[in-house]
Symmetry: C2
Subunit: 453 residues, 2 copies
């Protein structure tokens, strides 16, 4: 019996997909990595046992396994590998909320928004909110240690992971952590798997911490003359306040959104800062007033404040709409570089210079409160020369971030599209250390080969 | 030249201590581990270069290195090993606060309280606050992923570690993370070193995140009839509120404190709950009122609330005084077990049964909001029989926690005194995985051998 037949036989009908047409959509994530391979088969696992079966099979035959959530990754972390398996967790979507323990026990294919909704039924909240929260899965969030808009106050995915079930490279299922909040027994293996992008194991269950729901009390929108001025406002705000959102759009982003769906944004502004406060009661007013003052001190003309939740949400939607709005202008290469917050203006300047040098449009949106920016490199469709210039710009932006004490990826992950720059950020010794950990956990190198390392 | 002479020669005068009397105090941490060995020498490092020199020397001669901070550890994580080095970081105490980046760049020997003080000068705050914060070092805090009283709202040490310099087992110095807030480039090696208790590397510098200072607005003290009732109040409070402190003392603890320093605590109460709110403005009043209501619903007689900061601090001091007060009654064996919050009453019951069975006094204090308890096993001085019973109780309490889905250590670490129970908590497969990571990073096994594993 050949290897593939053995796999098909060892799993229930319908779990292993080998049909070429059906396989096609599992080759790429949203980064549309041109180097994505063609897998031998896709395993659409229904439970942890099937994940173990698939991984054991791959180990036996020394074949690559690419784990996959909702396929919304932006760095090619889920690009298929020629002749290997794609192991999709999309069918494992169970969510169980324990309101007394304040945790959600979640299968990896469950969508972020569904975890939020399940928690909300109990007056609880799962904070991490990638911009793609309506379509991305918790498994993918764990794999990339995903961030989002609320991170500035509430932290990133790893801060909410209390427990993980992980299938290791040899098919062993381990349970790490649990429903207890504090636990320092043994090495922090739990945290090691968060952000490991499928290179160390396959998460089959996650226990996520929930917190009491917070109410956004006010939204502030400030028009600043320049991105530098806006970044100054951000630094000033962070110094004494803890806003629940602190986002930035540059002029090209504002204009793209306004062109895509007119809502009266100030298209003459150099930058738009969108901030929210969920401080309770009267403290909210005080926080927003202090933010307004910081914006004015940084040179803001108009500062608009609303306590109407729906109106506030419109501006947040404007911020979330930047990517689809810019996508209208061409294909996007989505950057994710970050720097220490005070160095934001330098990063923005560097991106502008790179854009000019390569004759490219590169709007910038930012989770500014965390120093995490998304330069959006626009490639006019069908313009192959621009595509090449964009690839060069993509690399240069990562190196500009590194030169500013920054990171090549704040929340999307390294995947395959950013790995060329990883050694420049981490250095030889940390790369060697990374390799040692990888080799210890996956000696055959079958888990997501080609990603990260 | 013999090995020791080679070490002495390779480091500046005064760094290597070999004198028997002076070595003595470096043999133990606060757990007074009776199995602590006698080191060949103590290296009192002044900088990372000297740490590298010492570790390289140890690697060359295949000798154990026990890293050590302030020696306030409670699990024997810094017990000396016969014939090895103790590598103390107590002389590396520099603290540099960058108020714009909102980080403290700290050498490992700096005390927690000094980091707090340095941050406070800039209106900033370093939250983690182990009860020993006045005498414990940041290096030790990182090594154990230390917790404290504010964790219930503000998290533990790992949540504040943005960067680490670590000397690896072969003497290589690696820099992980930095001053950027969000960074997912590469594996989460940074988090792996936090809580590794000196078994994977020696931290020589830490970059700790700071946040704007918060003001405690009100303190609540509630007398509950039983620990079970108090635990119910805790669960109810956590459901909708985020107090900045949520601590519990049982009756023996209350009585010990009152006997030690009378302050009018209700010694007839079954449990005393001490909570604080740092919600801003009027929200503080609302939060405290809701906590009061939850306590009353759980059967509280008296509920005392004060907005006077000094008065509030008195009650927090009463809580912090439990350990010294109970220490008057005998030698202490300090437990650190945790459970999912709703299982607190079961854990408290289990501890009471163990105390009764072994005819021991075991007062319990708890970071109740996190489900983390400190049963304080009292051994009357000079009573060898009681000492044996206490050792048995110590083990049984850990296994009781495991049986309740809990942990043998919430914040003190496994060290040497708790490692016998670690396999029962983690299971064979996770122990094997731990061993693989340890072997990959420290193939000779020279870093803190005998701790954790």
């Amino acid at each position: 019996m050949d290897a593939l037949a053995e796999l098909v036989e060892s799993l229930p009908a319908g779990v292993v997909v080998t049909d070429g047409d059906r396989i096609e959509k599992y080759r790429w994530d949203r980064s549309q990595d041109p180097h994505a391979g063609t897998p031998l088969a896709v395993v659409r696992a229904e439970d942890a046992g099937q994940v173990q079966t698939a991984v054991r099979w791959a180990a036996r035959h020394d074949l690559p396994v690419v784990p996959r959530g909702a396929g919304t990754g932006l760095s090619g972390g889920a690009s298929a590998v020629d002749g290997g398996l794609v192991l999709t967790l999309e069918r494992m979507t169970a969510i169980e909320v324990d309101p007394v323990c304040q945790v959600a026990v979640v299968e990896p294919g469950a969508l972020n928004k569904d975890v939020k909704a399940a928690a909300a039924k109990h007056g609880l909240w799962y904070p991490p909110d990638p911009s793609s929260y309506e379509i991305c899965s918790i498994g993918g969030n764990v794999a990339t240690n995903a961030g989002g808009l609320c991170c500035v106050k509430y932290g990133v995915t790893t801060d909410y992971v209390l427990g993980l079930d992980v299938v290791l490279a040899d098919g062993t299922l381990v349970t790490l952590g649990g429903t207890r909040i504090k636990d320092v027994a043994g090495l922090s293996l739990l945290k090691l798997f968060v952000g490991s992008e499928g290179t160390l194991g396959v998460v089959t269950r996650a226990i996520m911490r929930l917190v009491p729901a917070q109410v956004v009390g006010a939204t502030l929108v400030a028009a600043l003359p320049t991105m530098t001025a806006a970044a100054e406002a951000v630094v000033a705000i962070r110094r004494s306040l803890r806003p629940s959102m602190l986002e930035l759009m540059d002029q090209p982003s504002i204009r793209a959104v306004e062109a895509h769906r007119p809502m009266g944004l100030d298209t003459s502004a150099g930058a738009l800062l969108v901030a929210q406060s969920d401080a309770p009661g009267s403290a909210c007013t005080a926080e927003v007033e202090a933010m307004s003052a910081a914006c004015r001190a940084a040179g803001a003309g108009e500062v608009f404040v609303t306590t109407d939740a729906d109106e506030g949400e419109l501006f947040v939607q404007a911020r979330r709409m930047v990517i689809p709005a810019v996508e209208v202008l061409g294909e996007l290469m989505l950057e994710d570089v970050g720097v220490p917050v005070p160095r934001l203006p330098e990063l923005v300047d560097a991106v502008a210079r790179i854009a000019e040098r390569h004759d490219l449009l590169i709007p910038v949106v930012a989770h500014a409160g965390d120093g995490n920016t998304h330069p959006l490199i626009v490639v006019p469709r069908g313009d192959d020369a621009a595509k090449l210039r964009a690839l060069a710009a993509f690399e240069e932006i990562m190196h500009a971030a590194i030169a500013l004490d920054g990171t090549i990826t704040g929340e999307h992950g390294v995947g395959r599209t950013k790995k060329s720059a990883l050694p420049a950020q981490l250095g030889e010794d940390v790369m060697a250390l990374t390799r040692r950990v990888k080799d210890a956990l996956d000696p055959q190198g079958i888990l997501n080969p080609g990603a990260v390392l």
